[in-house]
Symmetry: C2
Subunit: 221 residues, 2 copies
DNA sequence: AGGTTTCTCCCTGTTTACAGGGAGACGTAA
DNA sequence: TTACGTCTCCCTGTAAACAGGGAGAAACCT
């Protein structure tokens, strides 16, 4: 271990960043070379070609640009950045979405302290790393299913929502009804009803309340 | 400043606790004398008469017993504990509920790092402390209203929900419709519709989605 | 004893949501 | 070119939500 591992941290809560720094400083192989408080700050940081990090610790819930968008940004711009998601949630859908988007590790804030150092080392070394609770969540979702080839399925188990559907979903959570949404998006009521129908099918919920709860759970709002 | 200030921390995310400890350790007047990862752990800790803290840093979102329940526990058992809420949210309703329940300070995780030390010292000294964003939120809610006597109103600005209304609200968030709720509660559809109507009025939202969002925001579900 | 709250139930309506189907226009990837 | 996905719009219905009102029974506080 002669080479240092450089780590960038993105989390909207400064206190969390302070915690990560405090934990990481106990290890001599790893060094923090900056942090970001929003997803936008983060992508801006990586936009600068002088800035490089072996591993990015990334929170999902952030203002301006959330973790999902940051990963999408990396994919879109063909940036091969190793990312460890640090999240409060080990919801299977979120974990799988993150994996699909190419993150190399996923640890929850609950037991981040103990494992964050080994997670960083594993991912920097080209391996994957998932904290115990996340592993359990993943295994649970696999039980009864055919085991994927490599280690994890490179496919959404949830159907992905289109941009338009996401827009409609967001407006639903704002308590707009179908006519109001139609007016806002400048489309016909029929169109909005179609989107709503497709949302109900994809997300597998009964009604708009289910859609709203899904949106909250998945940090869409 | 000859006397040390002893602080207890309750947050379900160990990494947040690590962060707080890291920040507080920079100050010689304050000392952490323990932490809890759930509300239950926290009340258990204070149940032991050997355990005392000048200030409790309390997260709202915790499993087993959340911050609200912890404050209620203190009130019920006539424990005069100084509490600073450390929350991700500066929603006016939550802030006011916490104040009503007797917390002495409220800071958000966004700018906790810079202000947590002064918050602790202020509260330990018998003062109140609110971070800038929380102050703004409070002021905004007061504008246009008569200014309260002391500094803050000792009354809910939201109408309280009855037990039955809470039950209905919870079932709504579970995506049950009115007939299903009626069956579940063994009352007529008319009754459930009345409850729903009263909920919409009290909470001042347009539809069931609004009710669900309110329930989430206020940790009812 | 009178007032208040809560829970219960009913009435009359209008509006919206939900269910299921089809179908054309466009762009993109195989 | 074909096939697929996305977005758009329409049709026919039924079920549910929303809006506004009244009203009785029981429990509680003063």
């Amino acid at each position: 271990m002669e080479e240092k591992i450089y780590v960038h941290v993105a989390d909207d809560h400064k206190i969390v960043i302070d915690g990560i720094i405090a934990v990481i400083n106990t290890d001599n192989d790893i060094e923090i070379n900056g942090y970001s408080l929003t997803g936008k700050q983060d992508t801006d940081w990586f936009d600068n070609k002088d800035n490089k990090a072996d591993v990015l610790i990334l929170d999902i819930t952030m203002p301006v640009l959330d973790g999902i968008e940051v990963l999408k940004y990396f994919n879109k711009n063909k940036i091969d950045q190793k990312v460890i998601i640090l999240s409060s949630y080990d919801d299977i859908k979120i974990v799988q979405e993150m994996l699909t988007l190419g993150c190399k590790g996923y640890i929850t804030k609950n037991n981040a302290g103990e494992h964050i150092v080994e997670a960083i080392k594993a991912v920097a070394n080209g391996d994957q790393y998932f904290s115990d609770d996340v592993q359990k969540t993943l295994l649970k979702s696999f039980s009864g299913q055919k085991v994927p080839k490599g280690m994890l399925p490179n496919k959404f188990l949830i159907e992905t929502l289109t941009e338009r559907e996401l827009e409609v979903l967001k407006l639903i959570t704002k308590q707009l009804n179908t006519p109001e949404i139609a007016k806002t998006l400048n489309v016909s009521i029929s169109t909005v009803e179609t989107h709503r129908k497709n949302l109900l099918k994809k997300i597998k919920v009964k009604n708009s309340v289910g859609l709203a709860m899904y949106a909250v759970k998945n940090k869409i709002v």
